[in-house]
Symmetry: none
Subunit: 394 residues, 2 copies
Amino acid sequence: MLISHGMSTLFPHLNPTNSCVSVLSAVLRRQQFLIRSLGGTPDQSRVAKMNALEADAINIIRSITPTLDLSRHKGQAAMSLGSMLGDSHILAATLTGKIAVVGGCREYTGAPYFAAISALKIGADLSHVFCTKDAAPVIKSYSPELIVHPVLEESYSVKDEDKEFTANKVLSEVKKWMERFDCLVIGPGLGRDPFLLDCVSEILKHARQLNVPLVIDGDGLFLVTNTLDLVSGYPLAVLTPNVNEYKRLVQKVLKCDVNDEESSAELLSLAKGIGGVTVMKKGKSDLISDGHAVCSVSIFGSPRRCGGQGDILSGRQVIYDIVAVFLCWARQYLFLVEGDQEIWEMSPTLTGCAAGSALLRKAASIAFKNKKRSTLTSDIIECLGKSLEDICPT
Amino acid sequence: MLISHGMSTLFPHLNPTNSCVSVLSAVLRRQQFLIRSLGGTPDQSRVAKMNALEADAINIIRSITPTLDLSRHKGQAAMSLGSMLGDSHILAATLTGKIAVVGGCREYTGAPYFAAISALKIGADLSHVFCTKDAAPVIKSYSPELIVHPVLEESYSVKDEDKEFTANKVLSEVKKWMERFDCLVIGPGLGRDPFLLDCVSEILKHARQLNVPLVIDGDGLFLVTNTLDLVSGYPLAVLTPNVNEYKRLVQKVLKCDVNDEESSAELLSLAKGIGGVTVMKKGKSDLISDGHAVCSVSIFGSPRRCGGQGDILSGRQVIYDIVAVFLCWARQYLFLVEGDQEIWEMSPTLTGCAAGSALLRKAASIAFKNKKRSTLTSDIIECLGKSLEDICPT
């Protein structure tokens, strides 16, 4: 894993396009050793004093982001990593990622829009939204770039006797598309209608059967906190709770209250307790654990310090989909590396979260410099492209 | 109260972050003395010759606007005043404000949008809109930043026999959210449908029971002018009438016609006559009274003099929510100061109105410089952030 102590990277000379594999592998072994030396199982009493290592998020982003090769002509925009490992146009086509957001109901339309458009802004191929019929025209009106499916239903529009039929219909509408997606984001603006959440549970189970990675937030977290089995033991699930959602998760899983003095150990226990899902806890530093390792991202912190708004809202709404995109990229990158050398054990979810966290922090920091108190989520989204370009120039 | 004579401030060296309390208190006592020397009760015959003192709006804005402290880390984005008085993270989280607009019907969707987005543009955390089902998709489509609840109903969509049930449902939908709001703005684009206004009366009563501050304008003023009891005696209510609405209020409360020669005394009597609500009368100078004191805001006056449009329309639609935000900030600021020193008696409604008036005038002035005759409300809103940044650099 790419880890640095504080802000000083361990690998200042890392060249992600040709030599990172062995270096990364060495660091991963060191991180695994740290965890093993703490007893393997993250028993809270033994790991209480553990400090999360700072992820070298910039190099992670540079490693996993597909590098567009401008010398090629259109239709051959392959990434250099792909080239290095035996380029293929199929890879080039899939490496940019196809993301779907399941969210958006009568009340909430902003959150799924922000999530879906963010993916496109950092280079995803396609961004779909599955929402209720009421939400669809509104989300469509925000941007012609999105593909919006008005397929979800809320209780108020379905008679009791029609519920089974409707639920099957909703699932089959989503199933038609599922295999095309590299990642599903479940929760932004989903609402808490019981019938709708039942349908989403079925969508989630189906995605899991197909090994589609899941990023779960907002009302999706409400759903999985109540029914942990939906994600428990699924290593491709990422939960991105806010303060209150994290509190509920800790109470449900660890049967205790949040202890801020032992954040790293607690998060490790939590992720382990849900069977090795990845949990990303946003705060002064973002803390991320997949139950095996825990790392922090503190870089580019300013706007989160400055704007309650940029912090509480924007951070939440943008993070889902950029984590989803980086998760896809990390999986594809790690698949290539592993296929080549079989020495890679790094979790793509941890990698994706660290990259997503750092990029969002950088974008929010730039937006805040420009707009100060009046920074809105839209302003942060507008800065995503520039932020990624600064880190990985095309 | 921060008051200056004309444009020359009494407190040129006021440092709002560490020394304003005793100075403000001294000025407040002076203002109270002035009012007492006029007889305590604003008897129109005795106060006829009274001139409103110019509020030192710039220093008011500097005092009450939460100062974002960049040296702190995220989650501790406390305002410097908070720090001064014994900082608390809870304060930091609430100080930016959560605002809700009750307005927006089949005919009018622009006014509630302008009101709600203005709050976000000066740094409020969240801005909700409660409107009719017809208005919701349109208001949502203006901006994904707003949370829009399609809960209000108009007569044409409700059968007589369903009215009681529907009214209860509307109220319970709004009640679910009420405790989260720091201020409610009632009226922009509300329309005058009798059934809808009945429901809004109930919402207003409920907000009052919970001590939620209210800013009332547009058709909300039509409602309360007809039923003064809804706001009478509620010190957290602010009315922001235009010329015609002011005329009707004066006729209803003071039983006479408007007398422009005695504006200050008349406004004081009016505010007192409605039991100490705050009334903001917009004009060449904005005049504000809470029934105890009266002050004016004349600063940044150009666009109101120059552009009829910028004055009559834009002024109205933007002012609601920025007054609401400043009212929240003033309350929180005054709560801190009072809690600490117990010497503060300044009305948060008067403070919020003076701050909102000055900021709007500044934004309108900048917008008018750029756009001249073609200045629209949206242009003024775009200048709110810069205007606040000029006054309170982050």
